[in-house]
Every structure is written in C-alpha cells, then in structure tokens.
Assembly symmetry: C2
Homo-oligomer: 331 residues x 2
DNA sequence: GCAATTGAGTTAAACGTTTCGCTCACAAGG
DNA sequence: CCTTGTGAGCGAAACGTTTAACTCAATTGC
C-alpha cells in the first residue's frame, strides 16, 4: 500500500485490482458505452483507491494530444501582459490545460525559437501575441490551432479590444473637458492596435479637435528626443494623447522633471489601464481594456478550435471603457 | 517532399533516408560512441534535411524525462514575480527546457491543484515560491526535484536574496541621512523574508535608531486602518521603512492624498526595487534584489538536481544593493 | 594462424495508453 | 431450430523513442 502512492499507479494496476482487462479500464475511464455498470463501478473504485492518474506522455503518444497549450508573449514585465498571462493560465487550468510560457522579450528570433520548442513538446494550441509585423514562414509547419491576442494578422483568429472605440471615447472625453487642441504621442506605425487607437481618436471629431503635433513612439515608453522636445514646446496643445499607459507615464515623469505640472499645465491620457496607472501621480486617466476577459475568451476560443470545431468567427472584439482619474483638467 | 515538412518526420524516416537502422539514428543523435563517422554524417544530414525533431512525448515515455519544468508563483501581476518569471523562462529556454506556468493567485488550494497538474504532466522539476506557511503533504507524492525561490522552508533547496543585509543597508542609509527615529511598516509575521528584513534593520544599530512605531502589513500593499493612522501621526518618526515596495508605494499614495509631502515632510524607503519604484513620484529609494540572477540561479540549481547531482548546497543567498533615489531627505 | 578483443551496427523489447477487431453468451426473429 | 443481432468484454497492435542484448567482421595478441 505504501508504494501504491510512491511511483504513479498505471492503468494495468487498476486493471488487475478491478479484475478486468486494461482495455475495459480505459473504456470505463473515458466514458465509452461498451462497459457494464458493474465493471464500471469496480474500475472507478480501483482507480480512486490507487490514486490513478493517466500518464500524460503515454496518452499523448497514442492520441496526439497533450492537453497543454502555449502562451507566447513579448514581455511579461509589461503589466499589460502579466495580467493577460494570469487570466490565460487561470482559465486554462480550469479547463485542465497546462499553460506553457514563452517570453520572447520582444525578440523575433527568440519568439521563433520558443514556438519551435512548443511545437516539439506537442502543445495542442497556441495563444500568441506576435512581435513581428508579419508572421514567420514557420507557421505552416507548426500546424496547430493558433489564437492571436491583441494583435490581429490577416487569416488568423484573434481576440482583442475595440481600440478604435477607445480612441473615440478619448476624443469625446477631451471635448467634454474643453480640450480642442492636442498633441499625439502615438504608438508604432507597424502595430495595428496603435493605428486603430489613433484613427479612432482623430476621426471622431475631425472638425472640433486639432492635432497640434504628433510623434511616433515605441510601446515600451522610451521617449526619443523628438518626443521630449514636443512635450516641452507643446505648441498650444492642452492635452497629450499617448499611445499607451507606458508612454503616458514616461511623459508624465519627463514633464515632472522639467517642472511642468500635470494636469495643471497640461493634461494627459493613456491607454490600457495597466496597474501602474493607478499608482502614479497624478493617477492616470485612461482606457481600460477587459484584460481578464480577453485572456479568458482567447482560451475558450482556442479550446473550441482544439476540439475540432472550426471557428467561424476568427475575430472577437471586446468593448473598452473610459476610466477617469486625475490626469485631465477641465478647462 | 512537400509532406516531409507537414506532419513531423519520425526517427524511422530519418533511418530509411540515411540507410541505417533506427537504433543507429538514435545513437548518432544522442552522441553515443558506437557509431562510425560515415554513418553519423549520413544520419545528421538526413535529420537536417528532413527537419527532424524528436517527439517529446515518445521520448518522455521511454526515458521518464520531459525536459519541461514547472514554475509556481503566487501572483504574476506583482512585478517582482513577473520579472522573476521572465528570467526563469529565459534561462530555461536556453537550456532547452520548457517552462510551464502556474499562478496560484495566492490561493493555497489553487497552488496544490497546479502542482498536481504539473506532476501529471511529468515535469522534471519545479521552481516554486510557496504561498502557504508550511508545505503541503502532497510533496512526498510528487517526487521530483524542487527549488524554492525567495521563501525558504526547512529541508528544501532555496535561492533567495540576503534580506538581512538589505535591512542593514537601509539602517546605514537612514543614519547617514540623519534619521534616528523611524516608523516601521513591516511585512507579514509569517513570511520569513519579511522577518529577516526587519531584523537586519532593527539589529544593525540598536542604540542609534529608535523605533517610534511599527505596524504589520500584507505584502500586497493594502494598508489597514492602523497603518493609515500611524502614517498620519508619525510620533516623531522622520523616516518610514516599508516591508516592500508595494507597501511603500501605497503609503506614498496615501500620504500624498492627505497632503503630506514625501520626502519633505517624511522620508520613505522600500524593498525589492520593482519596476514601479522608478515611476512613482518621488522615485523610491529601495533595496534592489538581483531578480534576474535569482531566477537564473534557481534554474541552474534545479537543472543540476535534475541531472542527478544531489545538491549539497540547499541554500543560495545573493547579495542585494541599495539604490538611492528621491524618497529620502537628508536632515 | 587461431582465439580473443574491439568497433559498428542491428534486432527487438519496453514504456503506458487507446482503439480496432474479435469472441462469446444470450436474446430475438423467422 | 437456426440465423442474426446485440451488449459486454478481451487481446493485441500501434504510437515514437531508447537501450539491452546480440551479430558479424575486422583487428589484435600470441
């Protein structure tokens, strides 16, 4: 009895204890119809008292499914992604799936290497926020369901937030607070979500909001000189609209160091509502993405794809909401 | 040729293409000595042109090793852990190991469930920052190398920072800046690292630093009423020493809302140097843990344990350093 | 020149599942 | 009474590796 716990009981052990064949054990455990109720009971009992757990590797070899999924992210250090990761892992576990992590640290080659590692381990599907603008060739070869997250690519399932809507919400909020001349610290041109945020904002009230200036900035929040100069001169802008919270927070930090007060001297808004948005001074007004929901839905979608159901709805777009805090002044 | 890429080439395919037996392929690929240089070449060539990758599940079944490790953390959302996770994943990948994530969200039962999921998948080892004060019974049953991270438990390998040293560094810094009366917002009594930080600080200069008050606070930075009151009254303390950065930042936020200026009215120090420490206002003076090194060393240690080498050094303690920023005033 | 040794390669078993096809008993239909 | 059908269960093959045991030729030692 002591060693029944020690090194994992096998299906064979269950079979002998229940007095049936291994085939019957397998059938009983997997709910196949061709097993009588008496035998089924015996098997279930035996399995329980032996603490039997199917050997995943063996199962995988026979069935080709591992009940593991891959999660490929560009940067766990970014709270946006760590929240996402938390949601994904949690939902996966609730479905009995193991989440295998790859953090490419924004390097396309590391990402590729990671994908290949996942493929080698035979994960059943992949949730992926790609760093490269176009998806690498490898994709055909890895041949598993993929659900993109946050960054759509033609021909792929994706779940992401309604970025354009966020942009519009921001425009509306700007107007309501009397800002009609703004500066843009937009995200990278090759990241689609950045484009949509920008487009949502600019096209919402083209005749009532003027763009005083615009500079493109990386999503990591590092401000090039051009951006810093723009922040200092401002050319009449009373509000700066940042491509995401990291950018907004960097800008706030920079302004603070140069003795310009937010929001007294200039207002600022972000996008994402990462947890940092709540702790900076002043607290940042921003657009909240339903991070938990995005992660959860992505896993659900992937799970459906894995169960053969060809997803007809390759794109899932979730609503965002404005969260008002202290970084916008009403004028 | 088209379908040689499609559904993963097997060792058999390599064997026929190279004109040898599968055993020889296996031996060649695993660097066994009993294969001639001519055959070895042929095998290597065939494997490369076929894009052969060993089927991990099959390998696992035969050898009992999966080349995957588990990473069990209490809260990915906490930047301390997400940085750790990044380091762990990166190092693991460099060793050809897949990192499987469990985020228990500080719930002991979720943690247990996660460990069992990992065991079922047959991970070769586990890196674990445990939430519970004492380790659950299950442990004997899961029977794989375990390396703890940040939180030592009797009888287990651990890699963590020198918390006591951090406490001493802080005390020294306090004195250098003329603070001889301080308040303590210590971490939880049942978390060892919290105790060591506190002890390092208090016992460094017992006769030159007075503790004006102390209240125990959770590491998540949520301030109970007692703590808030203490922050407002202060009883002559010119410096508050927080159990970690989250606590320090919460305190700063609270003080700011009640119009007391940091560091003009009161100074404050944290512990951990999470990324937030850099972005709050004022930027937080704190103790930096070598997060990257902790993660890396943990993986290395685990890897050694997995390779049979019984680790003689169950505990690895890494030095910390003071990072001076703007939250301490010299008086 | 013959036995012993070595080097290079092969065959086949094993790992723990799932599943296909089979058997066997029994019931129903004619 | 014989065929056919059905429900319950079993035996064995297969999945892709690794590895122990083995063969066979060439080389060495004497």
């Amino acid at each position: 009895m002591a060693d029944s716990e020690r090194s994992m009981a096998t299906i064979k052990d269950v079979a002998v204890r229940a007095g049936v064949s291994v085939a019957t054990v397998s059938n009983a455990l997997n709910g196949k119809p061709n097993v009588g109720s008496a035998a089924r009971r015996k098997v279930l009992d035996a399995a329980k008292t032996l603490g039997y757990r199917p050997h995943r590797a063996a199962q995988a070899m026979r069935t080709g499914r591992t009940r593991a999924i891959g999660l490929v992210l560009p940067d766990l250090t970014n709270p946006f992604f760590s929240q996402l990761a938390q949601a994904v892992e949690s939902k996966a576990r609730r479905l009995g799936l193991l989440a295998c992590l790859i953090d490419s640290q924004n390097a396309a080659d590391a990402e590729l290497e990671g994908l290949s590692l996942l493929a080698q381990h035979g994960v059943d599907g992949i949730i992926w926020c790609p760093v490269g603008a176009r998806l690498p060739r490898l994709l055909g070869a890895l041949d598993r369901p993929i659900v993109l997250i946050d960054r759509p690519r033609p021909g792929f399932s994706v779940v992401h937030a309604n970025n354009a809507m966020g942009g519009r919400l921001l425009a509306q909020h700007a107007l309501q607070n009397g800002h009609s001349r703004v500066g843009l610290l937009s995200g990278p041109r090759n990241v689609q979500s950045a484009q949509q945020r920008r487009h949502g904002f600019v096209s919402a009230f083209p005749d009532r909001i003027q763009i005083a200036w615009e500079v493109r900035v990386g999503f990591d929040g590092i401000l090039p000189r051009e951006a810093r100069e723009a922040l200092l001169r401002r050319r009449g802008a009373t509000l700066v609209v940042a491509g995401n919270d990291l950018i907004a927070i960097s800008a706030m930090r920079f302004l603070h160091e140069h003795d310009v007060q937010v929001p007294a001297d200039v207002s600022i808004v972000g996008f994402d509502d990462i947890s940092w948005a709540r702790i900076v001074t002043p607290r940042l007004t921003t657009i909240a993405q339903p991070l938990g929901a995005i992660g959860t839905r992505a896993v659900e979608l992937l799970h459906e794809c894995m169960s053969g159901a060809q997803a007809q709805n390759p794109a899932l777009m979730l609503d965002v909401s404005l969260v008002e805090r202290d970084s916008v002044r009403s004028i």
